[in-house]
Symmetry: C2
Subunit: 150 residues, 2 copies
Amino acid sequence: MRWNELDAEECSIARTLSVVGDRWTLLVLRECFLRVRRFDQFQERLKITRHVLANRLKKLVDEGVLQKVAYQERPERFEYRLTDKGLDLYPVMMSLVHWGDVHMAGPDGPPILHRHKTCNHVFEPVVTCSQCHEPLDARQVDLMPGKKTA
Amino acid sequence: MRWNELDAEECSIARTLSVVGDRWTLLVLRECFLRVRRFDQFQERLKITRHVLANRLKKLVDEGVLQKVAYQERPERFEYRLTDKGLDLYPVMMSLVHWGDVHMAGPDGPPILHRHKTCNHVFEPVVTCSQCHEPLDARQVDLMPGKKTA
């Protein structure tokens, strides 16, 4: 299936990008994966205005990507934690970081290395096929209409 | 390593997002992976203004993600093709699409299925560790300073 058989609107990526397709939102999410949770911490690290930060956090809570959890009662204070839906964005985040490490890092190499606790090695993320477990290449993937259009 | 040991500016993701962290840019790239190549095709499919489209295409060419290739001489006409650097964004694109399929698709399921030509199966992308080949989970990844900060 090629582009001319596929309606641009069909792709759930357009809906996905309405949730996460914004630079500040993605930077807020990166901080969440680094376990940053409190408003002032986000603000200090990202040098973002309170207005923009509050807007992005509210949107992520409304979309069920983050949840707001009280950590103190008087005065009431909240922190922001990734939900399961939010944790599922990890492959997106890892893929972005890896692309940056390969193509945007300077001569000193990537600023951060990732260690897999399970095997205790520094690793790179590899996107594989759920069926044959081989690494994926764009040229080896074909598109087919899903249920809706079948 | 946790957030408070890590400078937000250190992460190459900030630089990465300055290239691809924009909804229109990501939608243009999705079209590129569907093999859309010509200005008018992008415009027709995305319902984007010529000004915004020209701006995003120019930026992607300047960043080496797309290359502009003449496909006709008189009058000279160009098309936009993914470079190797651009093709390397495939895991980002697949991860975004997969998250959308899981979390944003309606009751009819994903609008598009992906078939792996290599094994001939409909598949889902799985992000794995390059060392032990197990699927990655955010909770099992630790961060370490790279060369620059070592």
